[in-house]
Symmetry: C2
Amino acid sequence: MNIQSLLELNSLFPESKYVQLATVDKNNQPSVRTVVFREFVQSTSDIIIHTDIRSEKMRHLSHCRNVQICWYFSQSREQFRISGDVEMVDSNNESLRHLRVAQWQKLSKAAKSAYFAGHPGAALPLDDVNQHSVHTQNDFSEVSNKFVLLLVRPHQVDHLDLNTNPHTRIASKLENNFWQEKRLNP
Amino acid sequence: MNIQSLLELNSLFPESKYVQLATVDKNNQPSVRTVVFREFVQSTSDIIIHTDIRSEKMRHLSHCRNVQICWYFSQSREQFRISGDVEMVDSNNESLRHLRVAQWQKLSKAAKSAYFAGHPGAALPLDDVNQHSVHTQNDFSEVSNKFVLLLVRPHQVDHLDLNTNPHTRIASKLENNFWQEKRLNP
């Protein structure tokens, strides 16, 4: 089974919607956080992730567009480490506007409201619990200009299968639009 | 509750033994993989991770000792992003030899055998399934010279609690041996 089919198969498990996204900051220090895998862009291996244009990861991506995603499937005991580069789809992107609007429409009201709330990562008084309250009457039909899609385009995948003994490890690399596989020592 | 107590409490859940460790390679590209949290070094916040001296992450650490760990607790719906620097305890380290030996003794025979097997990440024929077989008669009482402890010493923690609405985010920073907390917009 090829790498794309494996990922698609695994992504169907509900537990599989969380992945870890690693970036480097402007001082070349490593950074990693859990993000939600939304879906693949239709007919491609591009992974859709949502973010706020004011987020820390956006600052990292403006410095370096290469990322690595770690996707661990506890159900199947497989880990995929996906290296790729990121296209950022913000409110200025006309050609992918339909994709951004479609993703916005799938969000809950609570998720949408965060894009109208205070600056992510800004300092708050320790007892402040009201920073979202201004927008609870909004219906959020308009896409927030803070809402950005990250499209992660894989060019290398390291696949580790923990079900075999010894474990099985396959490195796949995209070369001229074909995935070339190489078996590695685990 | 302080950050150390929170981590200790959460680390007791069996599902909590997997964390994601992010490093940067020599080209300053991001890298992330799932590793096993072993335990804290007694009476400290130092996190013990095992690795093979021949592993990719060892090459990354020789370039940059700063790492970030992403620790997501699905039970409590909390994420900790832990920035720290790494001390590598290999066979040349005399002062922490007791710690390295004690960690070795806790490993299963299968886990120990990997440190006597082929080079991690080396290419294998796609049908090779016998690379561990040479060592199955060994009792592994001697610590492999490939076995290395990584001690991750936290100096900054970003704690996100998804149970509240809006989410609660606290940044903690170690300053003069005290954790200073700051509440952030999520």
